[in-house]
Symmetry: C2
Subunit: 225 residues, 2 copies
């Protein structure tokens, strides 16, 4: 009977898909990257996997995601949001693990502060190797969500510094969606949305017409979902 109690055990983990923007190693275009952690024990020892860890009893879900991120990669993302929970019975070979997965966005300045260790490495999001568990499926899920959400939500702001030009913001959209956007129409849409406001200053030293700087507008309410 005691052994059946052990097999009835379901353990709970929290993992995170972290996205940052960096130039693609071959094309040079900015694209999505994500950090992976090398597994140092079975199952899937040696394989790359999403950063994560077991949920502690005294910790909220998002707090757990933040902690393991800080511990393993040194990152403190600007945006963190629950993605989905994965709980297929056979997703881990021996034991039963349910993973609550978050996804996060980090700014370039934060991104540069990543801990560099042999067991943490960044990959182009669309070219990740074969991962441990069902993590390839999870990454796919996160990419789909990010690309869908950027079209109707101002999350792109989590990718840019406090003050930014509309061209920078457009660059984020273009990198995420993987296609060019009309500068004029993009400008209109963003300004009409009311999610950004001009700082009144301009960026100088650009060898062409200086663009206006903007910042995130104080939002009155944010739809979670």
């Amino acid at each position: 009977m005691s052994s059946s109690v052990v097999t009835e055990q379901v353990s709970l983990a929290v993992s995170t898909v972290v996205f940052a923007l960096r130039p693609h190693p071959r094309t040079g275009e900015t694209t999505l990257w994500l950090p992976l952690v090398r597994r140092i024990r079975e199952p899937y020892e040696g394989r790359w996997a999403l950063p994560g860890g077991p949920l502690k009893a005294h910790q909220d879900l998002a707090a757990s995601a933040r902690e393991t991120l800080a511990d393993t990669t040194g990152l403190e993302p600007a945006h963190l949001e629950q993605l989905y929970s994965f709980g297929a019975v056979d997703r881990s070979p021996a034991d039963r693990v349910v993973s609550i997965v978050y996804w996060a966005l980090v700014r370039p300045d934060e991104d540069a502060r990543t801990t560099e260790t042999p067991n943490v490495e960044w990959f182009v999001a669309d070219e990740v190797p074969q991962l441990a568990f069902d993590h390839n499926e999870i990454v796919r899920h996160a990419l789909d969500r990010l690309r869908a959400k950027i079209t109707y939500s101002p999350i792109a702001l989590a990718f840019v510094p406090d003050e930014f030009t509309l061209a920078e913001l457009r660059g984020v959209h273009e990198a995420v969606l993987g296609r060019c956007l009309d500068p004029a129409n993009f400008r209109r849409q963003v300004l009409a949305g009311g999610t950004v406001e001009p700082t009144g200053t301009h960026l100088t030293g650009t060898s062409h017409r200086p663009p206006a700087l903007y910042r995130a507008a104080p939002r009155e309410q944010e739809k979670s979902r």
Copy 2:
């Protein structure tokens, strides 16, 4: 030490918010209802709560939701989808419980087959009493999601029988959104969407012009999200 192991324990439950359409007891307009289960032990003994139960080690998440639904309410929903996972440390007084919550839609025919017991009762979704745990917040979350999703996804089909008139389908949208829709514009949008196809037959015996019957079109691909 052994007692600290006990407090480190996190248990995992799966609950479901089930929606069905029924006439409002006062106004008579069809509105959203959901079944609640009376708690028969502490904590929150006697309070109403969402149907749910602990996750078993051999069961997928959705399967667990289906099973507890069948056991407690006798329902087999036409649509079942993961909503969100709730894991605040203080959401259950004594122990630590993380709930993975699904939401479901049932057709009227299925709805009528509900098990009637003193411990299961249906409530108007916008008028639920104070519930156990954070279940009021969860219901609010599910309502928001349903109302958002019905505007860009053909989930309304999960509320109607195999063959239906466009007026019925429009009634579903109106009940969920709580406002009237223009019949002409609704028809155009639905037909342009390609999610339904005419059966070629008409509904007879209506004491006015017989409406055409439709069924769900075989969808090539469905976006999860």
